[in-house]
């Protein structure tokens, strides 16, 4: 019995188990600290739907051996461009949403392709190059947001300023378009965001199905055993680029879903650190730098968002102070550090 | 092995001593300077005129009758110098006194008492 427990601990990693137990504890505490259990669960589910696709986007690149996508921002920027342009075009409702997605995919393919070329040239150091490429592109886009000729009065600075505002409201366009789709109301406090979850399930299914195709298997082979893949005649570089494009596209879709649920498009420096929560969530779900699966995405996103939404509400009620920010930083970055240190050791 | 431990402990002790030293000579103290009437025991001293005040070579400025000013000083030993000014003219009369302040002390100096060399020209509080 003891061996079995030790095995589980080694397999899952102590931090993950600690975090899981912590989350369970938080849930148990809810009624005792004056927080409603059902609204808490609701919060977690909503946030899960909001962030899930971004976490999902990391999977192709991990599988193809490109590591954790610290350059997620490129996909996010593609998504932002899609969102902003769709509003500029005054499209609303589902049409608006899908326009945004369509334009975003276009940009994502372009960005992803270039990004993939770069990563191929820097094999072995992808993660650190990706981080800074991601940062530079966000800062570069800051300049672009100021300069690009957008005209929609809902988006540019008031009083004749030029350039886009920092946050743009999606209300009236496609705010909650998915969330309200077949919305299920349970009791008076739970609003189940059916649309969002369905969409997430759809994308998850597509990714899962993809990896069962010939190309998907080839991609996984490239990541787990490059030489073997090469000997089978797989073009390693091509597969990597495809995986990067895939990741970028999914991320672009992911940020639009995020905005749909959140209600705001956040420009300028907001996306700067957005890669980290997604990566932390994936790692929390059991993935590592070289391995990731759909299971990791679902478990990880749920756990991570759970911690993120439960900690402030519960702990703040106990300690009467807002520690949530510090805890969020510690948990999310700590997870990443932990995952990065799992594999190699210097004796 | 033992030698190493001894060296290390000595080093730490030295560093702590340096720390205490720095703390003491760097600690900021508040010194209030009054040019006010004061009664010490049975003798009353009155503030007659304006004085130009220096504390530790830092010019505090002119203190008129009844005025109070603040000087922030660091360390243990200090010197206060006052220069008499009667009717807007420097009379050339200078008085100086030295005083020491312990780590957490702040002080209030009374000029009339100081000039007359009364014992309680300075009042120290923790």
């Amino acid at each position: 019995m003891k061996e079995k427990i030790q095995n589980i601990i080694e397999n899952f990693g102590l931090p993950r188990i600690i975090i899981f137990l912590f989350l369970v504890l938080l849930f148990i505490l809810t009624p005792f600290v004056g927080v409603r259990f059902d609204t808490s669960i609701n919060d977690v589910i909503v946030r899960f739907g909001m962030n899930g696709i971004l976490v999902l986007s990391l999977v192709p690149m991990v599988k193809s051996g490109c590591g954790l996508n610290f350059g997620l921002q490129l996909g996010i920027i593609a998504g932002l461009l899609g969102a902003v342009i769709s509003i500029e075009m005054e499209t609303i409702g589902f049409a608006g949403f899908f326009t945004a997605v369509g334009i975003a995919i276009f940009f994502a393919v372009v960005f992803g392709f270039l990004y993939g070329l770069l990563l191929n040239k820097t094999k072995g150091d992808e993660m650190v190059v990706a981080t800074y490429v991601g940062f530079s592109s966000v800062s570069f886009m800051c300049i672009m947001w100021l300069m690009l000729p957008f005209k929609s009065p809902n988006m540019i600075w008031a009083y004749g300023g030029s350039g886009l505002r920092t946050t743009i409201n999606t209300k009236g366009y496609w705010f909650h378009i998915l969330t309200d789709f077949f919305q299920i109301n349970i009791g008076s406090h739970i609003v189940f965001p059916t649309g969002t979850i369905l969409f997430f399930a759809l994308l998850t299914f597509l990714v899962w199905a993809f990896f069962r195709t010939k190309m998907g298997t080839a991609m996984t082979a490239v990541g787990s055993n490059t030489d073997y893949a090469k000997s089978c005649g797989v073009n390693v570089n091509k597969m990597r680029i495809i995986s990067v494009v895939l990741s970028t596209v999914i991320a672009a879709i992911g940020i639009i879903v995020f905005e749909e649920s959140f209600g705001f498009i956040q420009l300028y420096m907001a996306p700067l650190y957005m890669a980290f929560p997604a990566i932390a969530a994936l790692l929390l779900g059991g993935a590592s730098v070289g391995k990731a699966s759909i299971k990791n995405v679902i478990i990880g996103a749920f756990l991570f968002q759970g911690i993120l939404s439960m900690t402030p509400s519960v702990i703040n009620n106990i300690i009467k102070s807002d520690m949530s920010e510090a805890i969020r930083i510690i948990v999310s970055n700590g997870m990443i550090v932990y995952a990065l240190t799992r594999i190699m050791r210097v004796r | 092995m033992r030698k190493r431990i001894i060296i290390r402990i000595t080093l730490i002790v030295v560093l702590i001593l340096i720390g205490i030293f720095l703390y003491t000579i760097g600690k900021e103290h508040k010194v209030l300077i009054d040019n006010k009437d004061i009664t010490v025991g049975e003798i009353a001293y009155s503030a007659d005129t304006t004085y130009n005040v220096w504390v530790d070579n830092q010019e505090i400025g002119l203190l008129e009758k009844g005025e109070r000013k603040v000087a922030m000083v660091a360390g243990v030993s200090h010197k206060i110098v006052v220069e008499e000014i009667k009717d807007k003219v420097l009379t050339g009369e200078k008085h100086g006194k030295r005083f020491k302040l312990k780590t957490n002390e702040s002080a209030t100096v009374n000029i009339p008492a100081m000039i007359n060399n009364a014992n309680e020209w300075i009042d120290k509080t923790n």
Partner: protein, 376 residues
């Protein structure tokens, strides 16, 4: 059979130089354009340069030793900066002013810096080959811990007697603390004015001393050990060197130096942004070093100073140039940030690319040799 030789070895030495020093060269060109554009005077520049050289160099110098040890750009200097700030919080609370204040801050933050450096070293040892990303994330992680200590612990579990530096709610340090007591205490220690420009002699002396120390250190036994570890871990190991311990030591030294560097930096500015001052320290210091021509595997003292001059000139020039060029100073702000990140991205990509090409050529050579073909 045609032999493909190393891309970087047989080419024209001129081109070789260009590739190695691509970053500083591009930078110099950029600046050459931007300076006249910004319309700032020469005197302004010299004054700014003097300030920045004396203020920032120490921090950047702290990056050199981990590079010697083969650990790349040490983002762990952020941890050193945090240690320094904790020291400063205490001396501000205790009201210790002047040079004693600054020295005392250095004294009490040293053990904290050593501890943090040791922790960072252990973590980085377990992330061999990924030191930079791990260091980067570690800095973020530590920031969370720092917040826990400074925003919640101080005034609470950690006694703070001066309530003016605490938040209104009674615990947690304020966002900005005035360091008036030690402001410019090192800079003005030995005052010298030439042509109206104040020269912080003491600070420059301290920096010069550090440079001398680093040069001397390289030649010591420990320095040699570190360099061997940096060259090749396996060779070092066969020579009996404890590679892990050496790496940890180099990070500890770097962290302590960064701690002092941050104190020197803040002493010049005179105010401390409790939660922001250390955030960009890592990025800017590393960007400056890379702009100076350093790479992940090689960084020298000249790199530091060339880097400070180039990088900070850009820093000063961008907002104005942005305003002249496009009419928005805000643009210059973003441009500055973009350049900082972009420089690092570009340098790292270039370095990774070169590394890969050399590896490829080594592999090809080895394979050709195996096939019995003589390699020249």
């Amino acid at each position: 059979m045609m032999k493909k030789q190393s891309l970087t070895k047989t080419m024209n030495p001129g081109v070789h130089f260009l590739i190695n020093y691509a970053v500083p060269i591009i930078f110099t060109i950029l600046i050459a354009f931007a300076i006249p554009l910004s319309g700032l005077s020469g005197e302004y520049f010299i004054r700014e340069l003097m300030i920045r050289l004396s203020r920032d160099s120490f921090l950047i110098l702290a990056l050199l030793i981990p590079v010697m040890a083969g650990m790349g750009m040490n983002f762990g200097i952020v941890l050193g900066a945090m240690a320094g700030e904790i020291g400063l919080i205490f001396i501000t609370d205790w009201r210790i002013i002047g040079l004693s204040g600054m020295l005392l801050a250095m004294l009490i933050s040293t053990p904290i810096a050593i501890l943090l450096g040791y922790f960072a070293g252990i973590v980085l040892n377990r992330a061999k080959g990924r030191e930079m990303v791990t260091g980067f994330m570690l800095a973020f992680f530590m920031n969370g811990i720092y917040q826990l200590v400074v925003l919640y612990g101080m005034g609470n579990i950690i006694p703070i007697s001066d309530s003016s530096i605490l938040l209104p709610r009674g615990y947690g340090i304020r966002n900005a603390i005035s360091l008036l007591g030690i402001r410019q205490v090192l800079d003005k220690l030995i005052p010298l004015e030439i042509g109206g420009i104040l020269i912080p002699v003491a600070s420059l002396l301290v920096i010069a001393t550090l440079c001398v120390f680093i040069i001397w250190f390289r030649k010591t036994k420990l320095g040699q050990v570190i360099r061997t570890v940096g060259q090749d871990n396996d060779i070092a190991r066969t020579l009996g060197i404890d590679v892990g311990r050496t790496r940890i030591l180099s990070i500890v030294i770097s962290t302590v130096l960064a701690c002092y560097g941050q104190i020197i930096f803040l002493q010049n500015i005179g105010t401390m942004n409790t939660y922001n001052s250390h955030e960009q320290v890592g990025v800017f210091a590393i960007a400056a070093l890379l702009v100076g021509g350093a790479s992940v595997s090689k960084a020298t003292i000249p790199n530091v100073f060339v880097g400070v001059i180039l990088f900070h000139t850009m820093f000063v020039v961008s907002p104005r140039a942005g305003k002249e060029l496009i009419g928005q100073a805000q643009l210059g702000e973003y441009f500055r940030i973009f350049v900082s990140y972009g420089v690092i991205a570009f340098s790292l990509a270039l370095y990774a690319w070169r590394k890969r090409i050399e590896k490829e050529n080594e592999r090809k050579k080895a394979m050709a040799f195996k096939r019995g073909i003589l390699v020249k």
